[in-house]
Symmetry: C2
Subunit: 400 residues, 2 copies
């Protein structure tokens, strides 16, 4: 029997407890031993839970229990999650988390603490919810150099774009619907400003390129400036707009990493990923494009990824998994100005001035507004040109 | 240093040797030791290879070399692959293969021999080429009951359908083009008759449901009867035609497993998978739909999956991976007659008789031919009805 503690009994945490209970027999045959929930840490009371006798409000009950070998952290945020996780690892307990903020901010340090204490620190659920991506990236694609990772990493914003594209809703209405359906938080900033997607592309970049990429060093642009009119113009030109997290090496070996809305050709496989689904494309030098698609959030999908990591920890109590990356340096990150891209630019009138600034663009004029699909330029150059124009919208065009 | 032997120096085998050479440093840091190619078994001569000194024509050189810990089998076919692999496992050497025929026919036995001898038998590359699917299915989705697996498992037939759909080619021309481009063999039977896809869905079914499913117990229908006219009718009705391998449990707990052409709604994520790409959808009770997409064949994609397994074997020389399934029984497989499906049926004339047999069907008549999209029936019943009609085409409609 292997004793497990779960810190947090919210959406994901209660899902983890549910799966450990309902899938008991399948998990037993996978591990070879029973996974027993010994403690659940939450400040709230759950007197009606069938596991009511396991609840505690005191973290010391977990850290001091030598029988607990695997700890699940699904509290969210970094305080007290960071401190609790670190102490568990220092005590030689393996930790599984779905907490992307924790991994994006402290992953490098926590992986090192895990290594020093011969414990595992796993976080499959931190990116893509129930979609297997961390393990395939670290194991199956080990025989590849990763050239690029690009993904739809936030289901909420993808849902909002879907409503704009398919149901003709404007941004505010689509956001309200997402909130009413429980997809978006009352304070939706982390989603719509791109912070959530940023944390996830940071985790993927750290794993694929071996050095920690911190969220604050990543160019991040949300979706609030994208209008229904832009969505419609894009569609007429054969594109859909998605919020994309993207990382690749530039010619100087620096990481060109960003999160921003992008126009994707309708032929691109990521363009077809709708609703609250996530899709992550990994370009390997041997495999070519591989795409992982599924529900990027939600109670049971995310919890099932957590439980898969628990199983992995339980099977490797003495052997460490080789997930590891080293300290990063902001000098390894290219300036967003050095990124090269084509642009979608919308201006009032017939676009004469804009076309002078961006010659040889593809042009469409409707209702006294003009849209340009430009050639590729360094983004720094694009910014300068845009400063001298009166522009209604400017969105990158993805080349995936 | 861990010594590796490669049996077979064809397309995939030479790719494995290439990746082990070009990605040496990356693999070293993944394993913690060098992976050294000690022997390459092939009956042909390769005097110009940089590894010319490692070639042998004698299997005994491999089996008798106690330094060889991991053997790669990429010869194809089952004779002598089956015998060689079994002997390697009995000698305690781990084996990695891309050979779907071998795994589909002898997987259960070879997994048992591996277990008895504390060796690993891994076969990530046998399904989906470079797409990670075996490991995610066995590890990441361990906390799920699999409800259904459905996939485009054969790139050649998908390429042929793509040419029919997008370039208006008829079947024979599209097949010839696939052969000219090297996607299809001169003898294309294994692809177009569905045998290749059948082996792959058998492997996935065995892994997901825990009992060996043998290819000869699976209803398998190729794509040769699908005409350009069917593809066009399907398109007008909002469908695309794909060759699908599909397995799920029916109400009695038996496996409803089949390989056949299916009409898929254009909204289905698998409908958008074009060219030689593969796509595999796994429906888990917790994750919902998860899709894996990428190049299902080709030298480097397949070889990179083989090398990932070699790394896994090298890291687990003493510990066995828990991939395992038990002997299967044809009684566990439902009759194809008990499968329930809606149908696309094409008849000459106005379809009056057909509509009597399949009332409440959706109907479209063009050029004195009529197409019905029927309600769902048990396939046995459909067969009886079809026997009393003169039918030009009858294709299942996928409900994925």
């Amino acid at each position: 029997m292997i004793s497990v503690a779960i810190m947090g009994h919210g959406t994901v945490g209660s899902g983890v407890a549910e799966i450990l209970t309902t899938h008991k027999h399948k998990l037993f045959s996978a591990v070879g031993e029973e996974l027993y929930i010994k403690h659940i840490l939450d400040l709230r009371d759950f007197p009606d839970s069938p596991l009511a006798d396991r609840f505690t409000k005191n973290f010391e009950d977990i850290i001091n229990d030598i029988e607990v070998r695997v700890v699940v952290e699904v509290m969210g945020g970094t305080n007290p999650a960071y401190d609790f996780v670190k102490r568990c690892l220092m005590a030689g307990k393996s930790v599984v988390t779905s907490n992307k903020e924790l991994v994006a901010k402290h992953g490098r340090e926590l992986l090192e603490v895990a290594k020093e204490n011969n414990a595992n620190f796993l976080f499959e659920a931190s990116v893509g919810g129930g979609i297997p991506i961390i393990r395939p990236l670290s194991q199956c694609l080990v025989a590849n150099e990763v050239d690029e990772i690009a993904g739809i990493l936030n289901g909420t914003t993808n849902f909002i774009f879907g409503k704009m594209i398919n149901d003709n809703m404007d941004f505010a209405d689509a956001l309200k619907l997402a909130q009413d359906l429980g997809y978006a938080e009352r304070n939706p900033e982390a989603d719509i400003e791109g912070h959530d997607a940023c944390r996830k592309i940071c985790i993927l970049a750290s794993l694929a390129f071996g050095k920690h990429v911190y969220p604050e060093s990543v160019y991040t642009e949300g979706i609030t400036k994208v209008s229904l009119e832009d969505v419609k113009f894009a569609s007429k030109l054969g594109y859909v707009i998605k919020l994309i997290g993207d990382v690749k090496r530039d010619k100087e070996g620096k990481l060109d990493i960003k999160v921003c809305p992008m126009l994707l050709s309708k032929d691109c496989i990521l363009a077809g990923i709708n609703d609250v689904f996530n899709g992550i494309m990994v370009k390997g030098d041997c495999t070519g494009d591989v795409v992982f698609y599924g529900k990027g959030a939600g109670k049971l999908p995310t919890a099932s990824a957590v439980v898969a990591d628990v199983v992995d920890c339980a099977k490797h109590l003495k052997a460490r998994k080789r997930i590891f990356w080293t300290e990063g340096n902001s000098k390894d990150i290219a300036s967003y100005k050095d990124s090269v891209t084509a642009m979608y630019i919308k201006v009032a009138g017939n676009g004469e001035e804009a076309l002078k600034a961006f010659p040889n663009s593809k042009v469409m004029t409707e209702d006294n507004k003009t849209v340009l699909i430009t050639k590729e330029y360094r983004f720094g150059e694009i910014e300068e040109k845009l400063n001298s124009l009166q522009v209604l919208s400017a969105i990158r065009i993805g080349n995936l």
